[in-house]
């Protein structure tokens, strides 16, 4: 696995160049970290240039999981593609579903029903919790704290149960549709969500925090590691908890509100959900951990505000404008429903969006997940560019890791929460 590097001048220029061979410590080692390594979580490859244990430069190679989902989008209609979005950030598939259809609905100019907005907001927050739980747990796991991984992972299982309750799938949910949802929630689902958010989850968060934040090893291995300043974070395009842990005041839920984060979401003057946006100034792995923990507590608050008062009414927009798919009862029970269904799903029919381009973005757990849709008026997007937060956040890794020890690679990697399926597109 280890080979001596060629002369340092010939290697990659990024990182602190100018390490002359005759200087003491000038004989560097090249180490391949990945593509298959338990602590890289998925297939990522770093070529590290080591001076003893200290990393002098790092080159990242990605693309091992390239699936070409933007190409696929050009051959699928607006409802079909939601299945592919599950596979982008598979740690929180619901958030991708919502972000995709948020952009589609912006293109079509659809205003969702209040009930749909509330349900989507709740599951968007559940997806955020789901993602953060894995991230904070895996940060502990990578630093050797296996117990600390099991508490949040156990709590994540219940979110999978909640997904299963509403859409039948635990992992690949595909829950949203243009103008609505695949189906309505079950009557007992709000109660299940409330039990989870008032009992199981706060306990798990409490345990996790006690295990890690009072642990000297954890603090010393995360504090000051992988630090980034506010200006750099903005310049590198970083969004989400990574940016907020470096002091960037930016959260799309507040700055460009959508769903129930916006005022007057039900058309009758309802107030936006109230929550705070946690911000830290450290910009290191510890700050990212703390921001994620605080965000989960805020997500719980949002869910509690909404879950008792889910408005009644339909989840889909009205069937007359031929945007949402008709319910299965109508399809199998009436001739109009069947025709409507065929009009939507046949390959030479379907949606007729306006010609134009639109950018719609949501604040997901890792940052701004946006879709830039180009429409030529056909029933499939002409181009569906995805702005994946992992891809854009991850490019600063080469910079973050230089000067640290080799064991810090996993700490920084865990705190960036890179999801390779989304990264490799």
């Amino acid at each position: 696995m280890m080979t001596t590097a060629t002369s340092p001048q010939e290697t990659h220029q990024a990182g602190p160049a100018g390490y002359a061979p005759e200087e003491p410590g000038g004989d560097l080692w090249a180490l391949n970290f990945g593509p298959q390594h338990p602590a890289t979580h998925t297939t990522l490859r770093h070529v590290l240039e080591l001076d003893g244990e200290v990393i002098r430069s790092c080159t990242v190679h990605i693309g091992y999981l390239h699936s070409g989902f933007e190409k696929l989008a050009e051959h699928m209609n607006f409802n079909q593609y939601v299945v592919v979005t599950d596979r982008m950030n598979y740690v929180s598939p619901m958030a991708n579903n919502i972000a995709w259809h948020h952009a589609c609905e912006k293109l079509f100019g659809i205003e969702l029903t209040p009930r749909c907005k509330v349900i989507r907001t709740i599951i968007a927050e559940l997806a955020r919790i789901q993602d953060h739980l894995l991230s904070v747990g895996a940060t502990g796991l990578d630093l050797g704290a296996f117990t600390a991984f099991m508490y949040p992972f156990n709590a994540r299982e219940t979110i999978y149960d909640l997904c299963e309750e509403i859409c039948g799938a635990r992992f690949t949910t595909s829950y949203t549709r243009v103008g609505g949802l695949m189906q309505d929630i079950t009557p007992r689902w709000p109660g299940m969500v409330k039990d989870y958010c008032t009992d199981e989850l706060p306990k798990a968060l409490h345990d996790l925090e006690n295990l890690l934040l009072r642990n000297r090893i954890f603090i010393e291995r995360t504090k000051g590691v992988g630090q980034i300043s506010r200006e750099e974070a903005i310049n590198w395009g970083i969004t989400g908890p990574l940016a907020r842990s470096a002091g960037v005041r930016r959260d799309l839920r507040k700055d460009e509100p959508y769903l129930c984060y916006a005022d007057n979401w039900d058309g009758q003057g309802a107030k936006a959900v109230s929550f705070k946006v946690p911000i830290a100034t450290g910009g290191d792995c510890l700050a990212r951990f703390q921001v994620r923990m605080a965000e989960m507590r805020e997500s719980i608050k949002i869910i509690i505000q909404l879950v008792d008062n889910i408005p009644s009414g339909p989840v889909d927009v009205l069937p007359n404008d031929k945007m949402a798919l008709p319910s299965k009862d109508e399809v199998y029970g009436s001739i109009e429903g069947l025709i409507h269904h065929f009009e939507q799903v046949m390959t030479n029919r379907g949606h007729t969006p306006p010609v134009g381009e639109v950018y719609g973005a949501n604040e997901t757990a890792n940052g701004e997940l946006g879709f830039y849709l180009v429409s030529d008026g056909g029933n499939m997007p002409y181009r569906a560019r995805c702005r994946p937060p992992s891809f854009i956040n991850y490019q600063c890794f080469e910079k973050l890791i230089v000067g640290h020890k080799i064991s810090d690679v996993v700490a920084v990697l865990g705190s960036l929460n890179v999801i390779a399926a989304e990264l490799d597109r």
């Binding site: 990024a14 970083i238 381009e357 946006g370 002409y382 181009r383």
Partner: protein, 178 residues
């Protein structure tokens, strides 16, 4: 959104009076305040315009939020082949602006904005990889998602969904030859 961005566009037109920016919303909407505005720039003037947008404090686009390539090969009434769309975001003024550059075969080239926004490093590599639009003065313009030696640019519209025989051309390594 459009009320916030109008002064920025007026400022641009005043500063670069020789460029026709052709400002237009990306998509015309019923609620005009939600429209997202876009300006067009030629590749030769891009760096001057982008530097101005970044440094002038009334614009102050500190972040390159997204960079998207589009191949307009079969698009109705399109005049140019490739479009590169820069999605700019100003955190201090809380506005967004989209900037479009069009380039054509045989030599699609756009100047790199990495010197203004470091975040463009991988995004430009991706557009090069997927569309074959070259970014001049990019510090490290290698393919990013496909491998070195791959010849096509898969997101071009004339590249088929099933690929062009790349899988069949993989070298087979047998136990004996390894």
């Amino acid at each position: 959104m459009s009320a916030k961005i109008t002064p920025v566009i007026e400022l641009l037109q005043k500063q670069f009076s020789d460029i026709d920016f052709a400002p237009a919303p990306l998509l015309e909407m019923e609620d005009q305040s939600k429209e997202q505005w876009c300006v067009k720039v030629g590749a030769d003037k891009l760096m001057a315009v982008m530097s101005f947008l970044r440094s002038d404090e009334r614009c102050a686009f500190e972040q390159l939020s997204d960079l998207a390539g589009v191949d307009y090969l079969n698009f109705p009434n399109a005049k140019d082949r490739y479009g590169v769309t820069y999605s700019l975001l100003s955190l201090s003024n809380e506005h967004r602006l989209w900037v479009k550059v069009f380039v054509n075969d045989p030599n699609p080239e756009v100047p790199s904005v990495v010197s203004i926004w470091h975040g463009a490093t991988w995004m430009e590599r991706e557009v090069w990889d997927m569309f074959g639009v070259r970014f001049t003065d990019h510090p490290d313009l290698r393919r990013i998602l496909t491998w070195e030696g791959f010849e096509a640019h898969p997101l071009r519209k004339d590249y088929p969904l099933t690929g062009r025989g790349e899988r069949e051309n993989f070298k087979v390594i047998t136990r004996e030859s390894a």
